[in-house]
């Protein structure tokens, strides 16, 4: 987070990420209400906005609520803002698709960040579709400076055309730092809510009147896009191939083809088709360089521009980095492809993300891996999705935020002869449960499902960097806030009090028994684990453990806990007459990493894992 950006006077130049730049733009635009639910790569926008004075900012419980809070503020005449990742927009879209009919009073900007290349998401959807779907303008910055400027321009556009505006970002905007020159804050006082039932109460009769206005607005926006200075032609000198491009793809195009004509689109919906047609006439070949879906390309073809290139030569998936662009364009021009890199690729081993040493989720997955044959495990979205990986292999599905319980219920209602005796478990974290999980649990209770829910309450939105939520007792600013009581909440949703258990996930035998007991009961139950995320302020580390080498029998049970602090010190083979050889792995604990959660202690048969202090004492 950049405190420097908050304090910077107008005309200062700073190295800012796209997210930091947008936060500054939101504040300068005189925005009064800003909200979000965390989601990579958009999370830091709100974290940075929270540092600025004179505007209200919150973590909302989910993206739909954040959208609604922003709508309420806009209706009240305040400039408002919400940010989300691409899949968050799916959640928020119900409110958004009707807001677009009603329009805005205070300018309203919705920043949607696509995870092109899937660094941290379950899909790679293209949020530019929302512009076409909701009939609203889409702006696409190409770096931090543009992200900052377009944020401010989006508020103006929103008010001028009585529409919310989508600011479409990608990971390469959000998480790239580049130079930004900042400006001053505009005032934009709040005008106050004015009663207007015909406008704000979207009954069918009122909505019918709004529909033609929405279509007319889209026509005026199209004219605006044709004139917009955000869509710029760089005539170039090498007319063999010209590019129509937007977002980070523009930067890659400029890097690779400095002399090529480029029409850089910043205002990408409605598409300035006439401007593109005029540009087409100036170049021999035209390539549409757009990441993921061929939206611009298809729209141009529909408008009669058939002789263009796009996804026929460029990759459909992932980023259009120089490595993707250069060979494709060389081929199009009949040139030699660029030479391969000088050195051969070395691929040592995969290094997937791990859970942290002492992560309370590890105890849960270690336990589930011991019950593997008896259970089907419906998972959810968070750090605990890593339970699907090694060494646990104890998570069978992940679809979307909060889906674990609905999917578990569906599995329960669709049992085959082979699965009729399996216990069905759903696993969900605290933040995800409050985001979209509660309804799933209610459905299990209401429809008399037989599902055991593991609610992993680590008092943190861990995956996105430990943000607060309604269950942590703190708000976006770290101030004290009301805290949800998960046990009471589950009880209120109809789970029987005797079927709700709170368990310390570091106590493996207790956890094991609780899960075993509950999966044997054919009714809804909830097991709540209550150790905080080790990266959160609520975590107190314990003293580290160590392996007594001469007591270790090489069984490697402790490695199955999955803790990165435990590694193999030496290997061996156990040979017994008439028995197959057993590979032995003797282990050691990195005391600098160990935080003393003692889960591995419970996994060790020969009791070779002892407090480090005890080992040191014995040595003296």
């Amino acid at each position: 987070m950049s405190a420097a950006a908050v304090q910077a006077q107008a005309a200062t130049r700073l190295l800012l990420s796209g997210n930091e730049a947008i936060a500054r733009g939101v504040w300068e635009a005189g925005c009064k209400v800003a909200c979000a639910y965390p989601g990579t790569p958009s999370t830091e926008i709100l974290e940075n906005i929270a540092l600025y004075p004179d505007l209200y900012a919150e973590w909302s419980v989910n993206e739909k609520v954040s959208m609604e809070v922003a709508i309420g503020a806009s209706m009240s005449g305040a400039r408002s803002f919400c940010a989300m990742k691409h899949v968050g927009m799916n959640v928020a879209s119900d409110a958004f698709m009707t807001l677009t009919l009603a329009g805005v009073v205070g300018g309203m900007v919705v920043a949607v960040a696509d995870d092109v290349g899937l660094s941290s998401s379950q899909n790679e959807q293209d949020s530019r579709f929302w512009g076409r779907f909701a009939h609203v303008p889409v702006l696409e910055p190409a770096d931090s400076q543009e992200a900052y400027e377009m944020t401010k321009q989006a508020f103006d556009l929103s008010e001028r055309f009585n529409t919310p505006v989508i600011l479409r970002l990608t990971t390469r905007i959000c998480h790239v730092k580049a130079m930004v020159t900042v400006g001053e804050r505009d005032a934009h006082p709040i005008s106050g809510f004015k009663l207007d039932a015909k406008r704000w109460v979207l009954t069918p009769a009122n909505a019918k009147f709004a529909l033609p206005r929405q279509i007319a607005r889209e026509d005026s926006l199209r004219a605006e896009a044709e004139m917009s200075e955000l869509n710029v032609v760089d005539a170039g000198s090498d007319k063999r191939v010209g590019f129509v491009t937007s977002g980070p793809a523009f930067m890659h195009v400029r890097e690779c083809f400095p002399d090529a004509p480029v029409l850089k689109l910043g205002f990408t919906y409605p598409l300035p088709v006439e401007k593109i047609k005029a540009f087409r006439a100036q170049v021999d070949k035209l390539v549409v360089a757009e990441e993921t879906e061929p939206l611009i390309e298809n729209e141009l073809k529909a408008a009669g521009l058939y002789d263009i290139h796009g996804k026929d030569i460029l990759p459909r998936l992932g980023e259009l980095s120089p490595a993707a662009l250069m060979p494709a364009i060389a081929k199009l021009l009949g040139e030699e492809p660029p030479p391969p890199a000088a050195y051969a690729k070395i691929d040592p081993f995969p290094r997937p993300p791990t859970m942290c040493p002492a992560c309370p989720h590890m105890g849960v997955y270690y336990t589930l891996s011991r019950l593997r044959k008896r259970v089907q495990i419906s998972g959810d979205i968070g750090c605990y999705t890593l339970g699907a990986g090694h060494p646990w292999n104890a998570l069978d599905t992940t679809i979307s935020m909060g889906a674990s319980m609905g999917i578990a219920l569906g599995m329960d209602k669709a049992r085959s002869p082979e699965t009729k005796d399996k216990a069905i478990i759903s696993v969900i974290g605290d933040s995800t449960f409050l985001h979209m999980g509660m309804q799933g649990l209610l459905d299990i209770v209401y429809n008399r499902g037989n599902v055991t829910t593991l609610l992993l309450d680590n008092r943190s939105t861990g995956m996105t960097g430990g943000q607060n939520h309604a269950g942590t007792g703190k708000d976006l600013h770290g101030e004290e806030a009301p805290r949800v009581d998960f046990a009471k909440l589950c009880e209120a949703l109809g789970v029987k009090p005797e079927r709700i258990k709170k368990v310390d996930p570091y106590k493996l035998p207790v956890l094991f028994k609780a899960i075993k007991d509950e999966i044997d009961v054919p009714e809804p139950s909830v097991i709540i684990t209550d150790q905080p995320c080790v990266l959160s302020e609520f975590y107190d580390g314990f003293k580290p453990y160590a392996v007594v080498d001469q007591d270790c029998n090489g069984c490697s049970n402790c490695l199955n806990v999955g803790c990165p602090a435990i590694t193999v010190s030496r290997t061996g083979v156990r040979q017994r007459p008439g028995m197959p050889d057993v590979e032995l792995k003797f282990t050691t604990i990195d005391t600098a990493m160990c935080t003393g959660c003692h889960m591995c202690v419970d996994s060790c048969g020969p009791k070779a894992i002892v407090p480090l202090a005890q080992l040191k004492e014995a040595a003296q």
Partner: protein, 207 residues
């Protein structure tokens, strides 16, 4: 200022300080009047996964990512990670690698093997590698967090600005907040620089 762009890829594992090192390099380049872009890919989890940061600077930088085969320096905070990204180097570029071996759980449980000698692998591929144990230097100085400063010291003689500018960027951060850490960081920087030179001389002697 010429059109030449300097490309530095910093890599390691989440939690090692890769992002901080890249930030310090970027701020130094800004102080020298360069345009800078810095790109991060942190993967899914906060800790334990592969982390890279691309730092690019010059008179005008367009793309935020380094094209494979064009990096001037790959700074590896961990041995296998250094080898993983060595193919990003341009011909004649250098890999500056901390020889610490951090074993992930997938290796511990036996699904994969940690290569015996990643430095030899890189050299067999033709890469110029300077390697040393930054962890040992940090332990000698009494603080494992100094690895960051040591690695920056190690590349200080291979950058298009004086080593003193990079050192000042690091030390300046501590002077304001933790003055007690200034001297030990200066020593760490100098020792990293010396270790890199020693490795370069070793390599030249055996070549």
């Amino acid at each position: 200022m010429s059109d030449i762009i300097t490309n530095i890829l910093v890599c390691g594992i989440g939690g090692q300080g890769v992002m901080t090192a890249a930030e310090i390099l970027s701020q130094t380049a800004i102080a020298k009047g360069f345009d800078v872009k810095k790109s991060e890919v942190a993967g899914m989890a906060q800790r334990g996964g592969v982390v890279t940061s691309h730092v690019r600077f010059g008179s005008k930088v367009w793309s935020p990512v380094i094209t494979p085969g064009t990096a001037d320096i790959v700074v590896g905070f961990e041995l296998a990670e250094g080898s993983r990204w060595a193919d990003m180097l341009r011909p004649g570029g250098i890999a500056m690698v901390n020889t610490i071996r951090l074993t992930p759980p997938v290796v511990s449980v036996g699904l994969y093997k940690y290569p015996d000698d990643p430095v030899a692998q890189m050299r067999a591929a033709g890469v110029t590698v300077y390697d040393f144990d930054a962890g040992a230097i940090a332990r000698e100085l009494g603080n494992l967090r100094l690895v960051n400063t040591i690695m920056l010291g190690a590349i200080a003689d291979y950058l298009p600005f004086p080593a003193a500018d990079l050192e000042e960027q690091i030390v300046g951060r501590f002077r304001a907040k933790k003055p007690a850490m200034v001297e030990v960081n200066q020593r760490a920087f100098a020792m990293g620089r010396e270790a890199a030179r020693a490795s370069q001389q070793n390599l030249a002697a055996t070549a």
